[in-house]
Symmetry: C2
Subunit: 365 residues, 2 copies
Amino acid sequence: MGVNPRSGGRRATLREVAAELGVAPSTVSNAYNRPDQLSAALRERVFETARRLGYPGPDPLARGLRRRRAGAVGVLYDTRLSYAFADPAEVLFLQGVSMVTEEEGLGVLLLSGAPGEERDPEVISGAVVDGFILYSMADGDPLVEAALGRRLPIVIVDQPRIGDVQIVGIDDESAARSAAEHVVGLGHRRFGVVTFGLAPGARDGIADLERQAAATYRVSRSRLQGYAAAITDVGVSWADVPVYECAENVPEKGRIATEALLSRDPRPAAILTSSDQLALGVLEAARRSGLSVPRDLSVVGFDDVPEAARATPPLTTVHQPHVEKGLLAGRNLLAQLRNEETTDPTLLPTRLVVRGSTTRPRTHR
Amino acid sequence: MGVNPRSGGRRATLREVAAELGVAPSTVSNAYNRPDQLSAALRERVFETARRLGYPGPDPLARGLRRRRAGAVGVLYDTRLSYAFADPAEVLFLQGVSMVTEEEGLGVLLLSGAPGEERDPEVISGAVVDGFILYSMADGDPLVEAALGRRLPIVIVDQPRIGDVQIVGIDDESAARSAAEHVVGLGHRRFGVVTFGLAPGARDGIADLERQAAATYRVSRSRLQGYAAAITDVGVSWADVPVYECAENVPEKGRIATEALLSRDPRPAAILTSSDQLALGVLEAARRSGLSVPRDLSVVGFDDVPEAARATPPLTTVHQPHVEKGLLAGRNLLAQLRNEETTDPTLLPTRLVVRGSTTRPRTHR
DNA sequence: CTGAAAGCGCTTACAG
DNA sequence: CTGAAAGCGCTTACAG
């Protein structure tokens, strides 16, 4: 217990080291930044004096201002960071990003623009970064505007293109469509859909056609469209398919959604989701209500996170290369920082992975 | 394909906006920072001019230098960030940290000091942060020195105390000991241990007593000591217990370690690990070699990450409150930043969670 | 309500 | 090899 002991004394500055030693500030600066500009002996004396005075080396803020670079890239989410960390897909993405920043000696500054009362554009305007990666923000989000306004290099992930900004993503609609076609092909006709948020300030509950049409998260919108296309194709009216929206992309919410869907008449025999996180919750709901997956209920995830293969039963899902998405986003941003050529748009491949959570409907003959 | 279009034109500065409008720079600054210092009308004109000139608002680097604050806290790992992200325990910790930084409008700057050729202290000296959280760094790591040298508020997690620095952690030794006592109590006498790295530049393979003694990661050292204490207590010589060190804390390495341990004579009937990540790999190795857990092999994890409960069979492990650890570290750092009182040391409670991966040895009578 | 002045801590040509 | 000068872009008392 006690007041922090380190916050006390002023730190010494470069100027003070120079004064103490009787040399010019530039000489001290050179000792740190350009060893070839002074004798080894003098350099050692500089360091020695710095040590004695408690000078911690050039202040990064001052150096950054002078050199016009922050040494970090910002990754912006519009959810709370704790939700982002809870989703393995996002963590894998971050892994990819960090592989490239690490190599470059850049830090990764995690920024949260969680929608809510105190959504402060300061998050963006105050971020000490050299560029931004925007991760699945909603169309028209003011924080995206703010980021664009900073006039720094930007890479946008899982969002529609804005002007000439670089983008990285997958073809969500056709990936979702292929997943739905798989289930349709098995003979299913009674569907339920569990989607993550459709727009900032997402709510929990059935989303009618109007709300679906108003979806501003591009990923949510595209996946629903893909599902709708495959289902409509086979003569089922999309208006009859209940779509349950979950405010957060966590298994718990998927479970609650499924409990609601299963209590409907007719009871869905196949549930399509927009993430494995949600699908894991669907599995849990089935377990709790004594339904066997896939015999009584087919379940389809999206993402193919490692947990999907380990689930009981293993999840049929859409695989997408999360780490690579992060790598590409990172590399693209880096290229921009260096004024190099960049490749864009980058649409990564996906594929349907059929595992044990889907089969033909029970009453199918 | 093309050169980044955003990197072109110079950004306007506050000074230019002021000049364009014919007011003093301080007035423009006030428009952004102290709305009460000028009329609403003038303020609007300032913003309008800023928009017209493409002025993105005060530069965070310059503002930070002037105000003497960076607006971010640094979290330092000595592994590659991608390994950190791979371990749910570390992600949960980060979740906790980010909950408090988020509330404060601070960013989280992830810093990697992965041991290796080009281990650059610049990672520390160049980090634009207001304080550091050091996560399980090795004793005597030069980066720790460097961080201390910055003379910023610091919280150290899962490390021994250094001087008067604030610390957060658990009692690793007694937690490990209780886990080993559980297995010993079941009647086990033939053990194997799978540990994560003992020192920077960790290697894969059996670690003899000498190497164990030289361990500089406090967590690794303490957990081994706890295991040793319980095992020695029951008359088994610790020198006879093979300890396999894994360079990375990933299931894959745990599997490889276990394959090596299982090929030894006598074959271990119980394997103690220093993490669930590693224990998950032990399970996989057992599966591959046709051994049934727990019938043929008892397995103990450490951490109680969510995956532990979901594993087949569910892992017996030591629970520790990862999110709370992050919360406490974050809160302590924040308190220091505000020059408030801090509580230290903070040792969080742990508890042994007995699940399905441990039972009495097969030949026990 | 507005502006002139000083300065946050450093780096970078440039001249010697 | 060393140093004087200018300036990175801003904010903060302070005087009016």
